[in-house]
Symmetry: C2
Subunit: 220 residues, 2 copies
């Protein structure tokens, strides 16, 4: 029986992009159902009643939520090619630690910078840059976070690169200046067809965020 | 070469208890270094510069942080006995989802209830109870969350039972009344020697929290 794979997602989400990229790496076909996160569908609320968030993967009727957990699930189910996880338990723990770090720090800091002004804006901009600098240090001189392999942490972080133009525009800084080695890693990732074909245009992400901000302000 | 295992921990922490319990389940000997979380040691700050939190496991000089990640690491390194993780990828994803749910919801909700009064206190008390009710629903009629096996989610949740007396006292409710099936599961867990010998007395946890609150208030 062929696998039935459905993804509830929103095109601009860096968390949703992780799942699309993981499925592309494994060569899995799926049915994509775009979700409006400002007006949640009954399907989304039914599939993820706990967090009410995209992405949600539905695999042969079984529901998996939370992007980092979905990516690990995809790695474990389609385990015949492109392993995401290092074979060494310590390296696996390290990859999980940094993905968890990204999940705890990045979105919340960006959101603070986006929606604040003055001192709070400046402080969260500084923090956002320092998060990426820390992640640049973790990469060191490796080709990918997974060493020679494009792995779990690579998948979890590269999707944020689609938001860098937005971060730069709202924060008035340049990632190329702040994190040149991380930006070289982004370019290496984009040499992979899975990455360049799966991830959306970064200017379109900015337009999406700009339009969203206008709606937020008009609803105040 | 014998394994050198060191744990930086605080005795009353439900997150630290997870690691102690996981090590007990695997029969691993370790050197325990109690940490004062109100006055962090240079060792802790050096070992976990990112989050500056216990627990930290140091295994043959390699540092692992974040309790859920440490428990998975222990399961993967000492893999010859008592597997914590289900063999089915979907069940593994489910266990990870609920551990992540506990980590996102429980401590922050308890803290809000603990340190607030009036409406906020009542709302967070309701929320705390509803979290445990949801977890009770997940258990259903199974012996353990891992089915017949005392697994990852069992380890991650049972340590919170040492705080139930504290939650009840501050919130003026009874877990036995709110979540009788969950409390029956707690009793089953405590029939295991690893659990009953590893986890501390719940009244001592309350005394610890009460003394901590007094210090917080006198520092205001």
């Amino acid at each position: 029986m062929a696998d039935e794979v459905v993804l509830l997602d929103t095109w601009a989400s860096m968390f949703g992009m992780r799942v699309r990229l993981a499925l592309a790496e494994k060569g899995v076909n799926y049915d994509y159902k775009e979700q409006d996160i400002e007006n949640k569908s009954p399907l989304l609320l039914q599939m993820n009643p706990i967090h009410k968030k995209i992405p949600v993967l539905i695999h042969n009727g079984r529901i998996i939520c939370e992007s980092a957990i979905i990516v690990q699930y995809i790695d474990e189910v389609w385990n015949d090619k492109s392993p995401f996880m290092p074979s060494d338990p310590y390296e696996r723990a390290e990859a999980r630690f940094w993905v968890d770090f990204i999940d705890k720090k990045t979105y919340v800091t960006w959101r603070k910078m986006w929606l604040s002004e003055g001192e709070e804006h400046e402080a969260s901009k500084k923090e956002l840059i320092s998060i990426f600098k820390q992640l640049e240090d973790v990469l060191g001189d490796k080709t990918f976070y997974g060493g020679d392999t494009f792995g779990f942490l690579d998948i979890a972080l590269i999707t944020f690169s689609r938001w860098f133009y937005t971060y730069e525009t709202y924060g008035n800084f340049k990632m190329e200046v702040e994190c040149p080695k991380l930006m070289a890693w982004v370019k290496r990732c984009f040499q992979r067809e899975t990455v360049s074909k799966t991830l959306p245009d970064d200017k379109k992400v900015y337009d999406y965020v700009f339009a969203w901000e206008k709606r937020l302000k008009s609803n105040k």
